[in-house]
Symmetry: none
């Protein structure tokens, strides 16, 4: 009995699921630098009749889930998959981040955020408040100068030097004002922060920024020690999308009195959470 038939499924086994094995195999081939797979080879790998594979692949190609090389007749994953994913990463990330942030709040008892870069500023998309926090609303929609926050530094930590240089020239000064944030009045609100203690700042110019970014890359997370506001410390780590790009940063911050010397441990924890989210978005190890 070649087909080890499952007894009786109560569900419809939809076409896509049946073909998932094929897609996975093609994905692996792509990983291994191969130029796609042919019908017979896939039939061997899946243990099914080549006729079935031939017909199935033809349909998958029709729907542009697969593409076929005209000359070699080899199939590979198609742009349709990419398009579906690319359109939706950001919203998936936002939805998926909430449970993760909540758990982070549970274990750290501190406030946590998900932030993205907008021009020269960091925009907070989601925030989960610490149980100590009385404020009703979070920081959603609030922007702050990126280079001064750990999340902002994380977000630019993998930029090429030339792009970084230009970006810094444009945005690397205090009280950066974003040009056309204009139309939507509500979210242009900048967090008005107390002037930080000068002696705590670790980034004063392009060179020190670059050094800090290198530090961030090597650890996998960024920390902030009273640099923005007296008594406030925090840590941020990058979220990667499936293309390997940093699209967001996870942040946890709170009073130095509570966090104390556990800042590096907090950083590692935040990094693990961010990695989990990245994995969810298809980031490969």
């Amino acid at each position: 009995m070649l087909p080890p038939k499952t007894p009786q499924s109560r569900r419809n086994s939809s076409g896509l699921v049946r073909d998932l094995e094929i897609l996975e195999l093609l994905a692996e081939a792509q990983d291994g630098q191969e130029d796609g797979l042919g019908v017979v080879r896939l039939a061997q790998l899946t243990g099914r009749d080549k006729a079935v594979i031939s017909r199935t692949l033809a349909t998958l190609e029709d729907s542009q889930i697969l593409e076929r090389d005209e000359s070699s007749l080899a199939y590979r994953l198609g742009s349709r998959l990419y398009a579906l994913a690319a359109r939706t990463v950001e919203s998936t990330m936002v939805t998926a981040s909430r449970p993760m942030l909540r758990q982070l709040v549970q274990s750290t008892r501190e406030t946590s955020h998900l932030c993205v870069l907008r021009g020269g500023n960091v925009l907070t998309l989601v925030s989960e408040l610490s149980p100590y926090e009385f404020r009703a609303a979070g920081w959603e929609g609030i922007t702050t100068a990126a280079w001064r926050t750990p999340s902002g530094r994380v977000l630019i930590s993998r930029w090429a030097e030339t792009a970084l240089r230009k970006w810094y020239d444009e945005h690397g000064h205090d009280a950066a004002v974003v040009g056309s944030l204009g139309t939507g009045a509500s979210r242009t609100g900048f967090a008005v922060l107390p002037v930080p203690p000068k002696d705590k700042a670790i980034v004063h110019n392009f060179a020190s920024l670059k050094a800090e970014l290198e530090h961030i890359r090597s650890r996998g997370y960024a920390t902030l020690d009273e640099e923005l506001e007296h008594g406030v410390v925090g840590a941020s780590a990058p979220v990667f999308d499936f293309t390997g790009n940093i699209i967001a940063a996870v942040n946890v911050s709170g009073p130095k009195a509570r966090i104390g010397d556990r800042l590096e441990a907090l950083g590692a924890l935040v990094a693990r959470s961010a990695d989990e989210l990245s994995k969810h978005l298809g980031r490969r190890p």
Copy 2:
């Protein structure tokens, strides 16, 4: 007749087309900031029985192509899809192109894209937003009729006449609809563009298209002057792979007010950036 039976398909997996329709609908919903779709709603949208949808979605969730929110019971795209998308060729090209696009944005201060041809349409793989933009998401995953965009023209600019002729007959009309994107017309993901000012169009038929392609070849880049939308100009240039084929186009576009008479200079700049990417992909001079 509820089931609009196709006469007799020679191929397998017709159920897959239904699955794809579901995926597109979910992608659209997420694009529109909705938090996923429920069984009944999807049944309405697809015109199928809710029982079928319920069973199908359950299987898709089992395989992690979809995820379900426990409380609202709404479905949205799942991590498996992102993992697959990560292994498309598109994804690797995106990774390679990101630094270049970012630098292009920094020096032009306008939004830039990387696009590929998909059937008769241009698919935007990456977009890096201008610092002036406040939009949350870019144009990733969005398609537009190819022959009307500079990127599309660049992508077909080296085709042989016969292939071009055939392609134009098939796709060279407004509101091109991609073959098997599915029964639902609205959700094919086309950018709905304002009707362009008639007098600005420079391509009206095959002859004028050919002339424009010749112009593109001679300059090494394409420009667009308010042809698609009033007040919007841009330039595109080709990316070559190591065999010398054009596989993608780099594009920069922005308001005419800002770019003004520097359009040709912009074109040359875009062409230089595209060349750089081509070299990175192994193109020999």
